[in-house]
Symmetry: D3
Subunit: 251 residues, 6 copies
């Protein structure tokens, strides 16, 4: 058993919430309080109603998510929104969210975790945004097929590829989540092979013209790592039970 | 006992929520659901924690307010915000909010109610804003002192006056709430005596230069009428108990 | 053989370019001129370099596309951009683009064509945007599985589904291309089952909470119909050869 | 007798006009010239017509104000505006205005002066805005009632209080004028008791929820200090007569 | 002798100030009052200090200008600005300004007056802007040289020409003042020969590429007509002396 | 003969394109590629069709311009735009553009070149904009007539003057091109005599009121220097033929 306040303070500091920039809708930190104590931590990518139901069923009193509840701004507490908050409050479950701080953290970050999985053993931060570096990059001497095989193993499913770059992947850039729209910026930054979660249709023909290999490895699939890595350390340090909620979107 | 859905549908239609414009932060309509039934309606100007506590103590399962919970945009459900929602959910109290629709309604509107109280027996809508008329006006053959006396009786307290206009009030304009900043527009529209709830310091010297009588009758004090008039009709029609929550700010 | 001017004039009028709204990057109409004559028309979804190469190889002197060359604003005529324009000019191939006018046209539109393919025999325009209706809707008495089967046959490949709505599809809305982000608006408009081309990851959990069936049938795959239907009529009327360029992105 | 140029140069430097930020409407500095000489200085909070009349009646040839003539942007020189400028020009009276530079000055500032009056003997600058600190703060070991008594004595009238914070005032923040809307920022900055001039109605329930004591001491009443303190030094240094114009708004 | 109020009311109505749109800096109407009576009207294009000096020297008590005093927003009343207002006030001279209302008036308008001078006997309004038509157009069967000769006679000086359009001027468009930047819009509207006052350097090569004759007849030179035509009628109706102030800029 | 890549790389570095700010429409650098080799360089101020025709006629395979092709954003490749690109591609002529980098370069810059021509032997950078200095200034002990004579000799034609400043020019500021609108900023910066290319009509009366000498030396005429100075060095270093294209606008 631990105090929610202590967990929040530790995570805020560990993830450096006060300094890492983000979109205003992310609203990183404690999004929903509870009565003050935590015994079990659940983790998930999205803060949707089915996820809340699974977390409550698992007996969690703290849910840690990557995508919080407020991306659409203030919303009426009715319908699914009402059910979600009511369910959490009735079961005394708090909700904590961390977005970009949990993408770029050197240890827990989605980028760092996925990089380790695919053998980027010497990845360097790159792609500046508001004073931080959003991605990781490394020169890799492997083939496009080998990289695809590693990625599919890491995310546990098929990876869509636009094979417009070199057969040997060369300078590889990695930004988890929905950063396909940055493909022009990648080419400008010298990236030859770009790994991200998802990208809109137009990013594919653009990658073709830019001559960049573009790997779409799944928005959900590339972002399960961070919350779990954080939970691993948190539960160990504070002696909490933990459970990863599986709720993929296929996107 | 009534169905919350029925009350909400009736109020939405009566107040014409789908057509009356408002500021985006107003978020008119059902802001917080409950389990579906309503026996007692509470009314208040503001949706603050002390108001929720008084409404719950009064046994209300529907709270109708003029200023809803979302003016500051999406907010973490922590601190007072957490307590407020938890208190309402635990006591199965829904919250409904109506702002400008409850200022300008010809029967329930704060404008219409206050106009009746001070003897504007033939008030006409004026001051266009996004396709509606925000205020009421009427030529009145009474003195400034008489108008002040009527206003102080209506709002139950002192009214601050900038006596820069004519001794006989002449063309009187009325907009409840915080519309003092419209004093220039009032002068441009031919208003000689302007009644509103509150105005910033700079509106006083501006009224002096414009030669307009400016009555500051209190933001809270001029906006208790609408929710109570609505509740009067609603509780009668649906056979509900009702209670007005008194929680003035002195502003 | 036909005059390019005549073809352009006929398409501009037929597609009502001067009145149908669009995003500024669409730049509908003749995007690249040629020396004035056309014998063969090629059609494609995207105006990318590989598409230009295929169109030139096919001997086309007019390429009609759905996504034109200027979505990214003014671009240097270097790299792929240079090659593309040079290739077209050297082979005297003009380029004509039509985006939303080719989505919403009652006969040639991507919406209308796909609706026919999946048995929406009485589809009605809906979803207003800048004075037009962006989609088609119809109540359908079929199951979700049946609709999926029809869609997969129509687009010639797998369709991703978020099955959060009713088993019987009910009120079906259809907007081809990348309109997944409109899922909230769909729910607000009473759509129970929403068919579009692509949507970002966050649209899936949102559809779950809204209780809407969401079919992601592919951005490319849902937008091959319009250019080909237009070309069918155009080539018949002006006695031109024609060829559909196949260049899918898998997105 | 002194040269207007010399007075303006001295005040501009003393108040550091070229570096202290402000709202664009403040237009700090010499707002209206005269023929070049000054014998008597008048001071006031607002640059309104009644104030000009009192200053001219007092024989001033320089009027120093806190709120200048241009907050509403360019205005026709007709009506009160015409009378004001004509009156000043006919009586050869110049007008000098300083807003935020006269709030934050360590010696002449409204903040510093009021802080001295209420016994903040060790006040520290706080609340950053565009590179400066807008307020003063200090931990105080007195009761809310004692603070109110000191404030009422300092401003010479009643002070409105929202007593939502601790009985012992603790960390006190002070920003003169109309800064009530910063109450959320005050709570975030650790202020337990916040003194300002005025705030809108909504600041009161917000202070209640934040648990902050909020003192509304009057916009006019908290801003008479600065112009008079400046005039005291200026008139001494340049051997000028001086007079404080009293023209309160009650706000 | 006439009342200033009467002159202003007559001009406001005649020029339809309440309905004709304009840029916010224009501030059409009475910009500076006087003591109430007018005997002599001066007219000028610009409201600059040398113009005020000439108008005062001419004994005017009302100056009518096309470009008023507030285009740069609120300005300190110091330097030239102080001298200008002081000079006018000391000599009891009012200032009235009308910009677009005095460009587009069918009788007094700069457009209409210049059109008459160059033989556009059947000019039609065209070029919509905020609900009005900004220019006049007419098909003319004369040569470019003939048009230039007429223009140079009308404005009393040389006219700069970009002779990129047809030798016979064809469809001629006319917008007085600084509207050269609309040359693309002119071509889009079918204008073959465009007459305006001034245009920036880039408008010349653009006109060359568009194949439009572009006549730069001078901003000042094309805008002396309106104020004088207005003054002609005004002085006749109200029995006032009048004088046109000549103060060209050569631009 | 030289490689286009080498020329572009050398110019980009020499002109510091990656660091010098500009308007987004300038799009400095290689705007149109060719097949890779360059023998002859043409230079011009504007990238218009007549200029392209003259450059092709001169046998150039690289055209260097000051005002590039993209100021109006993305444009259809039809009409003059089509002809221009077709002409260049058919004749294998590349186009390189540099705007502000070619105004402010200490050696090749339009400012530096014109300063040398008129005897500003000790000109200092001034007038900060986005981290660079846009102009050159120097105190000069010569008369206004002498400066005008030097300028007219340098630009090879008449210079329009607003002689509102001192007879001895004093502090002279120089910004080539269309910077007349900065005359207020010049006065604020202590410039007594301001030389630029062009300014709108309103800059003249403003200069009069500010008491600044304003020389309008021609936008085209003040900007022929930079491209030619660059070409001089480039052609020498890479052993290329060169030719200056003369195509003035008179503006």
């Amino acid at each position: 058993m631990a105090r929610l306040d202590d967990l929040v303070r530790w995570m805020n500091e560990e993830l450096n919430l006060s300094e890492v920039p983000d979109y205003s809708g992310a609203m990183n930190g404690l999004q929903l309080a509870n009565s003050g104590e935590v015994n079990k931590v659940a983790t998930a990518v999205d803060a949707s109603l089915p996820v809340f139901e699974k977390a409550v069923a698992a007996g969690a009193d703290l849910l840690i998510v990557h995508h919080g509840m407020f991306w659409q701004g203030a919303q009426m507490l009715t319908g699914a929104n009402y059910k979600k908050i009511k369910l959490a409050m009735d079961n005394d479950m708090a909700v904590y969210s961390a977005h970009i701080p949990l993408d770029v953290h050197p240890l827990f970050g989605n980028n760092a975790c996925l990089a380790r999985e695919i053998g980027m053993s010497d990845a360097q931060p790159y792609f500046p945004w508001k004073g931080i570096q959003l991605g990781l990059k490394q020169n890799m001497e492997i083939s496009r097929d080998e990289l695809r095989a590693r990625l599919e193993k890491a995310v546990g499913g098929p990876v869509h590829v636009c094979p417009a770059g070199p057969e040997k992947v060369g300078m590889v850039g990695l930004i988890t989540g929905g950063a396909g729209s940055e493909v022009q910026a990648m080419a400008d930054a010298g990236i030859q092979t770009y790994i991200t979660g998802e990208g809109q249709h137009w990013t594919y023909p653009l990658a073709e013209e830019l001559g960049v290999n573009l790997f779409y490895a799944g928005h959900y699939a590339t972002e399960t790592f961070g919350v779990n890595a954080l939970s691993e350390v948190l539960s160990g340090k504070f002696k909490l039970a933990k459970e990863a909620i599986i709720h993929p979107t296929g996107l």
